[in-house]
């Protein structure tokens, strides 16, 4: 056992100076939360490109796969981004779980407290705990899927997953959890660090407006994938390729699937 561990075990870790790690861990919790919150919003815009049509979503997908830079799709690039998000997600979960109620007494107390107080920010925190707990499972499953099968992102592939693979209830729950958790979290970051220096009423208004906007956008997007998936249920596995690409490929002697 190292000397350091012997000192920590003896309860003397903070002698004579307090450890600087609590400060760093607090910064890590906030910064990973900020990255995930902003990623969540950006991600929603990319996914919502389906609302502009299959061509738009295909273009965004291929953009991330590097198709327009290398002339060929590299789904591995998506796995790299997912890998980075996994690291940030795990770090954030590790930091955030420190704040969870850790036994029945704490849970009973904080729940009764939030109910009796009828204080919005305290109640929002309880919701952050509920949704954060859900995301341990839902976000992990989603990230694993995207990391291992990045090639299965596209207008038909995603829609088949939503409808034919029956994942729409999964995405519905995750959408609600992630939008509530992220929106509340970003609001809390602002009041926690005092930036932007606006009144809480104003920050909360912006927060609810953004949460409402992204929830509506998310629900509309999910509905669009469900519709496409339903219409495409007879041809599961087929990949979408825009007509203009097919025409270009046919004239060049390629087949669309090889993209």
């Amino acid at each position: 056992m190292s000397c350091k561990n012997i000192i920590i075990q003896a309860g003397l870790a903070d002698c004579p100076r307090k450890s600087r790690w609590p400060a760093r861990l607090d910064l890590l919790q906030s910064s990973t939360g900020l990255i995930l919150g902003l990623f969540m919003w950006g991600h929603m815009f990319f996914v919502a490109s389906i609302l502009f049509g299959k061509d738009a979503m295909w273009t965004i997908t291929k953009l991330f796969e590097g198709f327009f830079f290398f002339g060929k799709s590299h789904p591995g690039l998506v796995s790299c981004v997912v890998g980075f998000v996994v690291v940030v997600f795990v770090l954030h979960a590790l930091m955030a779980v420190r704040k969870f109620p850790i036994n029945y007494r704490q849970w009973r107390t904080v729940r009764a407290h939030a109910k009796a107080m009828k204080h919005e920010d305290s109640t929002l925190w309880v919701w952050q705990v509920y949704t954060g707990f859900l995301l341990f499972f839902f976000a992990s499953a989603h990230l694993y899927q995207m990391f291992v099968w990045p090639q299965n992102i596209g207008p038909y592939a995603s829609a088949d997953r939503v409808w034919s693979d029956s994942l729409w209830p999964f995405y519905l729950v995750m959408l609600l959890a992630v939008e509530l958790h992220g929106g509340i979290g970003l609001y809390r970051l602002a009041v926690k660090w005092g930036w932007p220096n606006a009144s809480r009423q104003k920050l909360k208004k912006v927060k609810w407006a953004l949460t409402g906007f992204f929830l509506i956008l998310g629900l509309a997007t999910l509905a669009a994938y469900m519709k496409i998936g339903y219409e495409h249920r007879a041809s599961v596995g087929e990949r979408f390729t825009p007509d203009w690409v097919l025409e270009k490929d046919l004239s060049a002697g390629h087949h669309g699937d090889s993209l």
């Binding site: 107390t109 009041v191 005092g194």
Partner: protein
């Protein structure tokens, strides 16, 4: 002059109280809610209502008060689930049903009476909430005239010094309810006050030793009920955020 029979007295409400009764000295009797009913009076505060109950309905009901003017902070209690000062709460702002309970977190004496002083003293000793002057410093010599202070700075210090230590912020804090060793907003307010004071020789490094961990400023989850219930409307939200930024900088600077 004939009597004017047209004068109508305003109809006063019947206020129904549900008060949590418990005496730690007789633990065999479990905590229970006791009902009282009194008639509302003009300008009645909750403090007056409680005295009415004690005087006319139940002399055994125990609660604290000293100043009756929102200065001493003794009469803080949970009023319909939120901590407030009884003497500063007008019953006309409350519904017909009023639930009263002692402040959580603090040692219960009996019924609505809690020992906030014991915890406040412990907090004060833990955070060393007094001026620290270096030996030989001009401030340490009580025969000298004090150094001049800019009125704006004096105002800022005075603003934080208005804290009553009533305990409302701690009773409203979700973090403190879960973690008994949490410093609480009252403690952060004190640290912020001494950090502002140029007569105090302590640096951020010294303050980090007091609040630089999860029982201190990094444990605060920014639920901000402390800020919302403070009877003196102290700027607790901005002070805690400010301390958090300063202590985070210490974390980045430090070596261990």
């Amino acid at each position: 002059m004939s009597g004017n029979n047209n004068i109508t007295r305003p109809q006063h409400r019947q206020l129904r109280f549900q008060v949590l009764r418990y005496d730690p000295a007789t633990p065999a009797v479990p905590p229970r809610m006791q009902a009282y009913q009194i008639e509302e009076a003009d300008g009645m505060t909750l403090f007056i209502a409680l005295n009415e109950i004690r005087e006319h309905l139940d002399p055994t009901l125990q609660f604290d008060f000293v100043c009756r003017a929102g200065i001493c902070g003794s009469c803080a209690m949970m009023i319909n689930g939120r901590p407030r000062l009884a003497c500063r709460t007008l019953v006309r702002d409350l519904p017909d049903e009023i639930t009263l309970a002692p402040l959580p977190f603090f040692e219960l004496i009996k019924d609505l009476s809690v020992n906030t002083g014991k915890w406040m003293r412990g907090m004060s000793e833990r955070l060393q909430t007094w001026l620290h002057t270096q030996e030989g410093a001009p401030e340490a010599d009580i025969r000298r005239i004090e150094e001049r202070m800019e009125p704006e700075l004096a105002e800022q210090i005075y603003e934080l010094d208005r804290c009553l230590e009533c305990g409302c912020c701690v009773a409203a804090c979700g973090t403190a309810q879960m973690r008994e060793d949490f410093v609480g907003a009252v403690g952060f307010g004190k640290v912020a006050r001494f950090r502002l004071d140029p007569r105090d020789s302590r640096t951020d490094e010294d303050f980090y030793e007091l609040i630089g961990d999860d029982t201190g400023v990094f444990g605060c989850m920014s639920l901000l009920a402390c800020h919302d219930v403070c009877p003196k409307s102290l700027p607790l939200q901005t002070q805690i955020a400010f301390l958090r930024r300063k202590m985070a900088v210490m974390g980045l600077k430090g070596a261990s």
